[in-house]
Subunit: 385 residues, 2 copies
Amino acid sequence: MPETIPSDSVGLVTPQRHHFTEPLALDCGRELPQYELVYETYGTLNAARSNAVLICHALSGDHHAAGYHSPQDRKPGWWETCIGPGKPIDTNRFFVVSINNLGGCKGSTGPVSLNPDTQRPYGPDFPIITVRDWVHSQARLGELLGIQQWAAVIGGSLGGMQALQWAITYPHRLRHCVVIASAPKLSAQNIAFNEVARQAIMTDLDFHAGHYYEHNVIPRQGLMLARMLGHITYLSDDSMRSKFGRELREGKLNFSFDVEFQIESYLRYQGRSFVDRFDANTYLLMTKALDYFDPASEHDHDLAAALAGVTARFLVMSFTSDWRFSSSRSKEIVRALLDSQKHVTYLDIDADDGHDAFLMPIPLYLAAFKAYMKTVADEGDELAN
Amino acid sequence: MPETIPSDSVGLVTPQRHHFTEPLALDCGRELPQYELVYETYGTLNAARSNAVLICHALSGDHHAAGYHSPQDRKPGWWETCIGPGKPIDTNRFFVVSINNLGGCKGSTGPVSLNPDTQRPYGPDFPIITVRDWVHSQARLGELLGIQQWAAVIGGSLGGMQALQWAITYPHRLRHCVVIASAPKLSAQNIAFNEVARQAIMTDLDFHAGHYYEHNVIPRQGLMLARMLGHITYLSDDSMRSKFGRELREGKLNFSFDVEFQIESYLRYQGRSFVDRFDANTYLLMTKALDYFDPASEHDHDLAAALAGVTARFLVMSFTSDWRFSSSRSKEIVRALLDSQKHVTYLDIDADDGHDAFLMPIPLYLAAFKAYMKTVADEGDELAN
């Protein structure tokens, strides 16, 4: 943690946990008989319960979106840029709920959890979870917290898919839907990258068909490769150029296979550090949730038809250098919303940072996001009066 | 082989081999005391030796660029599209030389060859070869064949880098330089993809620090992953969409980690079949040759200065959907040639096929290539008269 907590941080936060005992039916046809969800909240729920927003996380995210867990923490939550007093998701005004999704590895029930039927970790037997499954589980948490209607459901990337699914599945339970750097479904290329990442993990000799916990190993190399590959898709070619160029670590070629270019060093570091904080089975599940997301598929591939029942107003934002989910993918969502006569604000933000831009303090992005969220907060106040 | 050999094929061809005994000094500071090069030739060298063209291959290519090795061959050489009677590189007019590069695994001296010092395979002790090293070795083959000056040196991708290096290193030994779908150096993103591929191979438990031959294994998973990843970069998002879309192999999601989408099936097949025909140490060497190529680096990063001594006339071609080496990378070459007052013809060809387009029978591409090569052939005839 910084020597003093910045005044625009939510400060020290403590994760909460709830054990749900009502079975959850899943898209795959199986059900979870019981499960736990870990979540954090920031800010205060008003008496009218009209100021709650739900944050949905992306592939490697979790419930810890803002603040610090302890004074020893070196880093704040993953969306500290956007959540806090005076920030776009202003904790002086909103009650913010951030959840670790089912299948995750940060406390919510997932592959590392004990399967009550076997008293062994679920491992590969954990059911494949869809974005819609997540939305159902998140809806139950909302009910637990007494939130009839979210002021907004908000997410970037895979989180944006959850927000979109919320607007479709529970149209009356959210007033606003904020979808950032996302897509209405993966492209073949997106699936291809996920497949290489999965193959890297699943062909690792330490994977043991997903039962690696019982062998006291982890598929370290595979997960490292998956993360390295992911990072290439999170950055733009331009941002890589400006960050690393063709800079050589030792200033000269060494004619060996050791790390030579700065970009190699960066990727290896990212890969190695990820292995110590993320579970490989969870990574596999998250990539499948991405691959499977395609709300239009149940409507003859007509996204506008899938959105016909939506009542939430939308803020959609994309970034010009994002090639993982390019601006054109966001425009598909915007076009479908317009075609079905919905209310949508769209911003394509000029940024070099690639897909990662949604986590970055880009002034125009933060300003636009903040302006939109102010109207959402004002509306919440009006409903409370 | 097809039941009858197509009339526009060079037909049955037999690789040739030469053992070079003069040591070759390498950019890395080491030397190869002796080495063999395997090559094929198509067409007939004219008496004036003015009609020879050199074909340089890309990462996974080899000397077998056209025709068939036996009546049992199912597939012709890798550039059958462009080499043959009446084709752009017209074997009725040109004497075509195609070589397996040093470090390769199809017969030329490389990691699988016996190191004369140890009588064991070189493996990881094979020196890291640069594009310039290849050009020097190719120049010696040219001398052997009595070719004072190539009518053209031609290559796509990494092959285009060799052609470009030829024009710089041996300006008077080629009249034309044809650079297709190439780049004057890799970007940080290009290097990043190579690094993930290398890490996949080098962290495979069967890699044995490159000495896998002696353990009678190959780093199968690593090489498979490298190839899968490569294929993503060879195709465009558009071509993947039109080829595979989000098509499901069994028509429905099966909620497992088996192959589901057609693109997954394609990538796994490409990865697996590659393992049986390519050497992992060679793959590593080829990616390093790519990473290291940067002729401007010796001229204060001024490519025009690097090209100052060039006398060859250039044909540069790129493809609109190529994101591995995008059109803008070819334009860097064109710009530098123009800045140094060289003769260059440039075509950016509208094609969906991504980087692989240079291997495809795209009508405009073949027509333009053929028209240019006709003038090269005519010039060769004039010199002969």
